[in-house]
């Protein structure tokens, strides 16, 4: 575990094992994410990326290993407690409240509503439709718009760590570019640490500082995205 002397890691995972009732998916994952770092988890389908995020968030039970979030050992914690440390999780499936309005969906993210209007303004700068269509029933938004709502809701809480699963999927390229800017800004302005699970290698490598490749439930490679030949190495892992 790499715990900085000055700052504690935003996320540290050690020997994490887990999966579903009758199938083990993670076989000892170890990684760490520093504050204000953007970290990409790459890998083919079925290698355990989503399972890793869900296990870190306490949505799936871990069989062995440790998860430390923002300096607290959260192994065995319920998801709501982890969230209260300042963590947002954006799942791949569009888990919005279909029958509530866009605004109600956003309000639910905050425990203290006094700052809601200001924060909505800030989020609406990135995704104008969230303000323009605040009264619309969220279930009637298109697939991509629901994704924007999901991301907007996660950022509204001003988290210190976000875990996002396939964030670029189903978004028009212009919005993906925008999203890239928003995440970098959040990181710069507030020291937000971001963990991305992505299939879109270009998007992930352009945005992240470091990356890890997951294969059959273990990390087979980590490194800095700025290093030479990263793209080729990652692509090779994904092709095999």
């Amino acid at each position: 575990m790499i715990a900085d002397d000055v700052e504690r890691a935003a996320l540290a995972v050690e020997g994490l094992e887990g999966g579903y009732a009758d199938s083990a998916v993670l076989h000892g994952v170890t990684l760490d994410v520093r504050p204000a770092e953007i970290f990409a988890i790459l890998g083919k389908n079925g290698m355990g990326k989503t399972t890793l995020l869900k296990t870190m968030m306490g949505l799936l039970p871990a069989r062995r290993g440790r998860v430390e979030v923002l300096g607290a050992d959260v192994s065995g914690w319920a998801p709501y407690r982890i969230t209260r440390l300042g963590v947002s999780y954006v799942p791949q499936e569009k888990s919005i409240f279909q029958d509530l309005s866009v605004e109600e969906n956003l309000r639910l993210a905050l425990r203290e509503l006094s700052e809601f209007t200001d924060r909505l303004e800030a989020v609406a700068r990135s995704f104008p439709i969230l303000k323009a269509r605040r009264g619309q029933r969220a279930g009637t938004l298109s697939g991509g718009e629901q994704k924007m709502l999901l991301i907007g809701r996660a950022l509204l809480t001003r988290p210190r760590l976000v875990l996002v699963d396939e964030i670029s999927e189903g978004l028009q390229p212009a919005v993906v570019t925008r999203l890239q800017e928003v995440l970098t800004d959040e990181r710069r302005a507030r020291g937000l640490a971001i963990v991305l699970v992505e299939q879109n290698v270009d998007f992930a490598l352009a945005l992240a500082d470091r990356y890890a490749v997951l294969k059959v439930g273990t990390v087979v490679e980590t490194g800095r995205t700025a290093d030479a030949g990263v793209r080729e190495r990652v692509e090779r892992h994904l092709a095999l």
Partner: protein
């Protein structure tokens, strides 16, 4: 089948031998419980397997009770007459059941409808009986002359009937039809879009289950010798659901154990601890609901399977996928007239769609021919998914005409659009989580052949394109895996294969490669190109990945704010100004 036959023999042996150790009182309690358990099995078939929550099975039990009671009290006597009346009760219950199903399972009914309708049914039934005066015995019950069987004979009759019903049910749920029932429970919408007439199947099941509950009721009243309205009331209907939940729904053994267990324990405790026993039962119920939400039987089975893993799995892996007989796809192609090269297989004329005040599609006109891959691009919220929805479900659009192979789809539900040759893949992967990959594929093929009520097929025959999709996506090694355990990308591939198994002429794909790696995308792209070129499919494809669209599309349609902004050959449209604004910046809907 083998295991259900073994269980049947075991059950029969137990039934034959148990009077040696059970006293008369116990036999009497158990006989009553056995009749109730038959009704509980029908609840399990409807709720546990098919997802239809019903509180009304008591009413059908009551129909059995009172048909026989009234007939014996006033009109008929003798064994033959009694048998005829029991049969009549079953027919009457089946008709009422079919009517209830028809009321509750219309195409867009929410699952809550059936719960409400079946909740009302016992209430109506009780009121009818109570207002019948001396004729029905009202609240004091109706005593009847009954056949003179000994207690042990009743024990064997009721137990034998229960075993028989359990055996037939177990054959049904492990048959191909049983698999469809689970598919309906898991995802009825997907079933409809696979061309299955789910409402019809549910109505038939409801009728059959009602008849069986009436059989149990008519047997019970002969045993009890008095008809009481409480055997058709809402409390009894709810108890059947509770017993099923306690034992474990979706197991068949669960409702039997739940019913027999609760009734036996209640009777024994009720004798020894007259008032406190209800508290015990209530407490046990709460504990089970909290700690074993699936019920007792799944919990026990889960514990046992952890001890001995293997046999079931080993058998399953011998299943295989086979290519469908040549020409099965061509048959339908020949059957649909007027589709020579060049005439459009899909035509939209001024199609509009509004959700309340929100205009999502605004006069969309377009055509697609055989062998074409039409890429549909546009910003988020442009109406792309709505467009596909309107083509796959004839009741969706607000105005305009849609023709598939020259035939208007106006008013046709999804399952009938499938019959015209339209298949739709959803934006978020839409498969049957509880079924294995292989079973998902089988359900997708179900609409092509009649489904057996007793046999379970061990192979699935797929048309070549579907088989190809299964192969390139690596699903072949995951055939036994429950679809719910698959990764996002594997689910996407599975749904594509399911949709291709329908042998469509018009294929609607909503972001089919979202969440796939570059290699997987290339493989799927290859499948699609092949489909268009060799199988002459017309494909409509929504995609944000412009490179992917460029690789496989022959034509490009740009949708923006519900209107067609551009429609033309790939080369022209892909370089246009419209595309650039959408992809480089700006063009989201305000």
């Amino acid at each position: 089948m083998v295991s259900s036959a073994r269980r049947f023999v075991l059950g029969a042996a137990l039934l034959a031998a148990s009077p040696l150790v059970l006293g008369e009182y116990a036999q009497q309690i158990l006989s009553q419980a056995f009749f109730f358990a038959i009704a509980a099995i029908t609840v399990d078939l409807l709720w546990g397997y098919t997802g239809i929550l019903t509180f009304g099975q008591s009413a059908f039990f009551g129909v059995g009770v009172y048909t026989v009671a009234l007939a014996l009290a006033y009109y008929v006597e003798g064994a033959l007459g009694t048998a005829a009346v029991m049969l009549g009760a079953m027919v009457a219950a089946a008709l009422i059941g079919a009517a209830v199903g028809w009321l509750s399972f219309f195409d867009r009914a929410s699952p809550i409808y059936v719960a409400i309708v079946t909740l009302a049914l016992p209430v109506v039934f009780t009121q009818v009986i109570l207002s019948g005066g001396a004729y029905t015995g009202s609240s004091s019950g109706l005593p009847i002359p009954v056949p003179a069987f000994s207690i042990m004979q009743w024990y064997w009759i009721s137990g034998g009937l229960l075993l028989l019903v359990a055996l037939v049910s177990s054959v049904l749920v492990s048959s191909d039809t049983g698999r469809l029932l689970v598919a309906i429970r898991e995802n009825e919408e997907r079933c409809r879009y696979l061309g299955l007439r789910t409402s019809r199947l549910k109505i038939r099941l409801m009728a059959a289950c009602s008849a069986v509950a009436a059989l149990a009721g008519s047997g019970y009243v002969l045993f009890a010798s008095v008809a009481a309205h409480s055997y058709g009331d809402f409390v009894f209907g709810t108890e059947l659901v509770v017993w099923t939940a306690l034992g474990g729904r979706g197991t068949l053994v669960g409702p039997i154990l739940g019913t027999v267990g609760v009734n036996y324990v209640s009777a024994v405790l009720g004798g020894n601890l007259p008032f406190v026993w209800l508290l015990f039962v209530g407490f046990a119920f709460v504990l089970i609901v909290v700690y074993l939400p699936q019920g007792l039987v799944p919990a026990i089975a889960g514990a046992l399977s952890r001890v001995s893993v293997g046999s079931a799995r080993a058998r399953a892996t011998t299943l295989q996928v086979r290519p469908a007989a040549a020409g099965s796809g061509a048959r339908r192609r020949n059957a649909t007239p007027g589709e020579e090269q060049g005439t459009p297989v899909l035509e939209l004329r001024k199609v509009s769609k509004r959700y309340g005040s929100l205009q999502v599609l605004d006069g969309v006109s377009l055509q697609a021919r055989r062998g074409e891959v039409v890429g549909i691009v546009g910003p988020n919220g442009a109406g792309k998914t709505t467009l596909l929805r309107c083509i796959a479900d004839g009741r969706e659009r607000s105005s305009g005409d849609i023709l598939v192979n020259g035939r208007p789809i106006a008013g046709l539900p999804p399952q009938e659009c499938v019959a015209l040759g339209v298949s739709r893949k959803f934006q978020t992967p839409n498969v049957f989580d509880a079924l294995s990959v292989l079973d998902c594929l089988r359900v997708a093929r179900a609409y092509r052949a009649s489904t057996s009520l007793w046999r379970r097929s061990h192979t699935v025959e797929l048309p070549e394109p579907a088989l190809h999709a299964v192969q390139v996506s690596g699903l072949l090694s995951l055939l036994d895996e429950p679809a719910g355990h698959l990764s996002h990308g594997a689910k996407q591939a599975l749904e594509l294969a399911m949709v291709l198994a329908l042998e469509p002429t018009v294929l609607l794909l909503d972001e089919p490669t979202a969440g796939l790696t570059r290699e997987e995308r290339a493989a799927i792209g290859g499948v699609l190109t092949e489909l268009a070129q060799s199988h002459r499919l017309s494909i409509l494809l929504i995609e944000h990945d412009l490179d992917f669209v460029r690789e496989i599309s022959t034509r490009l349609v740009v949708l923006h704010m519900g209107k067609v902004l551009a429609d033309g050959p790939l080369a022209e449209v892909a370089e246009s100004e419209v595309i650039r604004t959408i992809y480089v910046g700006g063009a989201t809907r305000p």
